[in-house]
Symmetry: C2
Subunit: 329 residues, 2 copies
Amino acid sequence: MRVSEVQTPALLVNADALDRNIATMAEALPGDRLRPHVKAHKCTSLALRQAAAGHRGFTCATIRECEGMAAAGLGEDLLLANEVLDASRIGSLIEAGARVSVAVDSPETIGAAASGGVREVVIDVNVGLPRCGCAPEDAGGLADLARQQGLQVRGVMGYEGHVVGLADAAVRADRCRTAMELLLTAHADVGGDLVTAGGTGTYAMNTWATEIEAGSYALMDTAYGQLGLPFEQAAFVLAAVISSSPGWAVGNAGLKAFGMDHGNPSLADDGTVLFCSDEHVTVTPSRPVGDRLWLAPAHIDPTMAYHERLYLFSGDSVVDIWPVDLRGW
Amino acid sequence: MRVSEVQTPALLVNADALDRNIATMAEALPGDRLRPHVKAHKCTSLALRQAAAGHRGFTCATIRECEGMAAAGLGEDLLLANEVLDASRIGSLIEAGARVSVAVDSPETIGAAASGGVREVVIDVNVGLPRCGCAPEDAGGLADLARQQGLQVRGVMGYEGHVVGLADAAVRADRCRTAMELLLTAHADVGGDLVTAGGTGTYAMNTWATEIEAGSYALMDTAYGQLGLPFEQAAFVLAAVISSSPGWAVGNAGLKAFGMDHGNPSLADDGTVLFCSDEHVTVTPSRPVGDRLWLAPAHIDPTMAYHERLYLFSGDSVVDIWPVDLRGW
């Protein structure tokens, strides 16, 4: 199949750029130094490529991601980096032979993990992002509570999500250090082998975590593209111009093809996206009907969640079609 | 099943509010005066309710929506309100007995319709929104061209998408009139029975169109909720608080559960959404772990496209589970 034969709209991934991104990261953070986050691509076929590059453990954001990864034979060491109130589906995975550790940050989520059949947890610590995680000074007490309930505590997790996207690398590094100092304080009270943190924006500067949870590096988006990282844009939504007016053209991909929280997608070649509608993207300057538009998403994670499949291409050829099989909950 | 037993995150629809919304619209625009747009809900079970209220024709935005509607027995009079470059899948539907009319706005899309097996088209006219549609003065010539290629021309379409969301009803009505005057000019040159236009924001004031393509009225969103329309918020994403901190709480629904182009969802009861992450919503003030959050989406259409199913509820009971079966392309 040629790329020109792909029915639009479609999600296309440059196989060569993907391979280079995975290789670049595996060289910087080999083996267990990286625990790739699958939420950024939701695709077990892509995760298999990451595993082939030497990473045994993976990070998941949802129970379904854990289930899909285990079903794909990638359940050797999964971390559900999120609290859950009902861990019974995770318990079933563990019963069936997967290793799944779960983030906890409260007595309630510790209780849910223990009663659901989870055996291993990490203590989720708030390192500055107003989201999940206990106060650093509460981490030791929660670890004690978890152990009292028969859970193994593998260590601490603390995601510096308020830092990973900062434009200035020096500021990013400084804030990352501040966040990780909080996490190490908690780790001193908690114990365990794992200090898990980090993302694509801090993978190279977060030298305190024992493992980095980066995910976006594999496919990239225009937000991370502004940070000067050594990763290429590998994912595009391909649209076709279905309508052409003197001042603009309209492609057949819109709000249901792009995560929009970071703003409009960008044209990979010349031109500007004016706005998106449900199934349209209006671009300027005008182009003829039938032209193809290559659009780089502003935020990769919620973009992937809209697509059933991705077309892996090299040059002009589609070399594989991968289901985006970890969607939903 | 009780509502309290639904696993979060989940899309919940208030059956009573939905029925009232459908009844209110059917009273204002009975039968063929409304051609409900299925892009706003992507759910054939919901479309069956609209059909039961007396609407025979439906509007679709994608080929898959047409295919799903025909497969559900709702293919009596479908309008694909969008240009396509390859109409062969539509041709197959028509061959199998569905009636599908397709929007065209250029020689290329007329040619695609004719060669794909389409028999009926509408001329899509630009009435002010910089998107699809020919210039009004070109509509007659395109209709002639379509007829030369053996296509029946059912009339004109002109969506006043730049008008439907305007806050001031008087301004909205005035701009709607301006847009429809352009459409009627084109219609005079084109002929045919159909003047199809309109949306939820203009359904009551657009008295020039023969039929209105409203869709959002059935489920609603917070953007349309600001216009003072007689429709209730019927769709919610239900989340559970998985983490609680002194100043905020975190629910387990995020960027992959909400279309974000109109901004954050809103809490149906008290409180404020601070921000969304991929699988999180951070709200203030704080709430205890286990609390449920009812979140009204800011934009219903791209929200629906993230969900595999919806839970229809009445009071405390889930009365049905409907697949959101028109997703994708």
